[in-house]
Amino acid sequence: MRENMKQDAKKERMSELVPHLIFLFCGLAAVAFVLCISVYLIISGIPAIHKIGIIKFLFGMKWQSTAAEPSFGILPFVLTSIYGTAGAVLIGVPIGIMTAVYLAKVAPKRPAAVIRTAAQLLAGIPSVVYGLVGMIVLVPAIQKIFRLSSGATLLCAIIVLSIMILPSIINVSETALEAVPREYEEASMALGATEIETYMKVSLPAAKSGIAAAVVLGVGRAIGEAMAIIMVSGNVANMPGLLKSVRFMTTAIASEMSYAAVGSLQREALFSIGLVLFLFIMIINVILNVFIKGKGKKDVA
């Protein structure tokens, strides 16, 4: 009898322990993915950087991966990614923040719902669809306006990117603006400020850490986008210029990986570009975390 009870207890412990362990392993899967991604990018990205030389790789101005005497300088890609992202932020952020202010503070219920749905749907449209419309509408338009031989330029990519980052900027800024205590605004209005003055000069500064997070999130989106801009940016390894055909870090990987021979230095160099892009993203993540944590601290105080 006692023996039986002991066995039952053991069985029960097992039936509790097994699910517990399975859940633990699944939880660790996310950590494993991140480790796996970091380790593999480092392992496969380092060799080419070592062979080419880090200075020559990062600051070389020429990328001729298939020439008889190939050179692998990725400065054009890095600068293009930075300029493209900066341009997208410059256009997308003001529009996004203004929309968020309207949504959070001014808009009546119905229009707010319409705009929110619009932003949500914009976020859901696949990036190749943005690329397609950009390629068919934007590229010829820019070609005509600036009388270029090809309209596939950095400017085109910037416009597409600024539309693509709009939803996340609107969404995150709106949440930040809605969290501003009503008392701040009431105090400002009681002192004689108009509603608009209150929203722009009190609410916006009060929500600044949330809005900064929105901007950083937009930067991350823009720098990581590949398929939409590969179709509109011309894909030539030029140093960036607003009306030149350019190639981003992401599009360099996407366009050359399909024909780079296994084991070649060209392929290894593409992995190295991936590693550099990954470092950029990690830095952006750290900044984002600082903003979010900073906000948390202030709330406590």
């Binding site: 029960e12 039936s15 509790e16 517990h20 399975i22 859940f23 633990l24 699944c26 939880g27 660790l28 996310a30 950590v31 796996c36 991604i37 593999y40 990018l41 529009i95 203004m98 929309t99 202010v101 309207y102 319409v114 705009i115 619009a118 932003a119 749907l121 914009l122 859901g124 449209i125 696949p126 990036s127 190749v128 669809v129 397609l132 419309v133 068919i136 709009l166 108009t194 608009i196 003055e197 991350g220 990581g224 986008e225 590949a226 398929m227 179709m231 992401t250 996407a254 990986m257 399909s258 593409l270 992995f271 991936g274 892009l277 993203i281 990690m282 952006i284 993540n285 984002l288 975390n289």
Partner: protein
């Protein structure tokens, strides 16, 4: 006086920017429909491309998209839900929880081209899985994991503590309690998360280029797992920028947009139900 002008100017700015957002969406969808609907035909949707007859059909790509959704979700749902269960129901070690949550957050920020790169390295080169739906799906599992973990966690948190206490007080074991009380009450949220994840899978392209491949040939489910298979998005890219078949590309865009709208609607309904329940 200048104050009034400033006020009105800013107010106009707010209205204009909001209008721009809506106008962008309306003109985008309008233009795609205008270009794509005339190019849609039953023949296009129901056949595969044939060089002999010089016809184009996107049936293989529709099926590939469906296959990749099925395989990805079949792997990602169990792992994601279990991870969320661990985080909300079991975990006592705070450090471990924050490590897992940080990892999930990091995964959200990684661009899809990097997932594609690593997926190719790990699944096709290291593990020797041939380019195809399976390698693509495994790559996507890494990508959508955070979405499923987060939405499941949120819905687990909406299950009242008293349900759990009640079950435990009746003598149920923890796992029994989770199976019979917690999970059934959190299922709406899990479904919402899955719908969002499906939306992401449908729209994904960069992660699939080198993992699922470009193949435009019709395969059955088993063969497609390990043979190069383009989803709708990848096919759109191939037809638009490599074949110059703009009309076909717009027809695929229409299919994608309709799928996106449907997914959004379903997700909205599911989220609405969830909200009604928590109130």
């Amino acid at each position: 006086m200048s104050r009034r002008i400033w006020n009105n100017a800013v107010k106009a700015g707010l209205y204009i920017c909001s209008a721009v957002t809506v106008a962008l969406l309306v003109s985008l969808i309008g233009y795609i429909m205008y270009r794509g609907i005339p190019a849609l035909s039953f023949h296009l949707l129901s056949t595969q491309s044939s060089y002999l007859n010089d016809t184009i059909g996107i049936l293989p790509n529709i099926l590939n998209t469906l296959y990749i959704i099925i395989v990805t979700m079949a792997i990602a749902i169990p792992i994601g839900v279990c991870a969320a269960l661990y985080l909300t129901e079991y975990a006592e070690n705070k450090k471990l929880v924050s490590a897992i949550e940080f990892a999930a957050e990091t995964l959200t920020g990684i661009p899809s081209i990097i997932f594609g790169l690593v997926g190719m390295l790990v699944f096709t080169q290291l593990l020797g899985i041939k380019q195809g739906i399976l390698a693509g799906a495994l790559t996507l599992v890494m990508m959508i994991m955070p979405t499923i973990i987060r939405t499941t966690q949120e819905s687990l948190k909406t299950v009242p503590m008293s349900y759990r206490e009640g079950a435990l007080a009746m003598g149920a074991g923890k796992w029994y309690m989770i199976r019979t009380v917690v999970l059934p009450n959190a299922v709406d949220g899990i479904v919402t998360g899955c719908i969002l994840a499906v939306g992401r899978i449908i729209g994904e392209s960069a992660a699939l280029l080198f993992t699922a491949g470009f193949g435009l040939v019709l395969n059955n489910f088993v063969d497609s797992l390990t043979s190069s298979s383009a989803t709708l998005t990848v096919a759109l890219y191939v037809y638009a920028s490599e074949r110059g078949e703009t009309n076909v590309a717009f027809a695929i865009a229409v299919v994608l947009i309709i799928l996106t709208l449907v997914i959004n609607m379903i997700a909205g309904l599911a989220a609405g139900r969830l909200r009604a329940k928590t109130k």
